[in-house]
Amino acid sequence: MMDCIRLSDRMPDVALGRAQWNPEEADHLAACAGCQQEWSLVRLTSDLGHGLRPGPDPAAVATAVLQRVAAERHRVRQRRWSVSGLAAAAAIALAVWYGRGQTGQNPSPSAGLPVATAPADRPAELSIPLPELDQLQEPELDSLLQTISPPLTSGSTLEEPSMGDLDDQELEEVLSTWEG
């Protein structure tokens, strides 16, 4: 049994012409049907594909491969630039939009936030995107503020004033603070 394992280990090298059987191994091979079957299999496998026609010129293969690698690297770079460009454009758009919110003609206490919503302690009754707020006239805006902030003006214990509580001079001061 030990001879079979040793012979098995040597078979690839002998099949590839890197080694030869010694007399003891040759005797074992001549007498062992299992090893003969394995040896036949190993020889057949080591010869498999030797009859294939030669492949294309290695230089042509290498050139084609390197061109593909270069093209792919170029594509990857372009994709990175595109993603960076999109990210930069998105950042600029966001900054402009935010800036409009900050310097708009009709600022409100919620200006600069993406959405004006009802206070958290009440069910959401109102959800108005800011660009719509920008289009409102001052009386309409005041009216809207009255609608969404009654608890602050009537019976609220909070001391923070709402926009509706400010007179014109106070409003000017707030505006000048926001606009720098």
Partner: protein, 182 residues
Amino acid sequence: MSASATPTPLTDLALVAAYRSGDEQAATELVRRHAAAIGRFLYSSGAGPSEIDDLVQETFFRAFRRLDSWRAEASFRSWLFTISGNLLRDEFRKQKGRRMLPLEDHDLPDRADPHADLMAKEAGERLRQGLARLPRLQREVFLLRVQEGVDYQQIAAALGTTPGAARVHYHHAVKRLKELME
């Protein structure tokens, strides 16, 4: 009169380093060294002869695209074999299990004895079919060992297993192939 010294061929590691430094001739040399062996490996694993050139090119493309992932623990050729094995697996999946492609007559050399030629072809085809039916690890261990003479240490490094496990895979492959070839 001085004896002309034969230049020592660069190792694969040195060629890879040269390629990384911009030497495209090094890439050509790597292809020249390994393309035929990769072709035989692909053919033995069940690839059709007409597909081999494309698959060899794809193997080198994948290899050069991510040379950084070659850790020289395994030989460059063994690493290429694992890439070829992955590639072939992808191809088999695309073909939904159609693992064997017809052997094309013009790809084998003519022999003087037509009967011997036929017998050899039949035996070769049975062996290819048997190899294609083996689990991937068994097939790759067996082919690396028998066609390339790679030792179990190197095979283990290339295939991400242990030398002992590689030896077991080899003997399982032999056992199954013996059964399939009977």
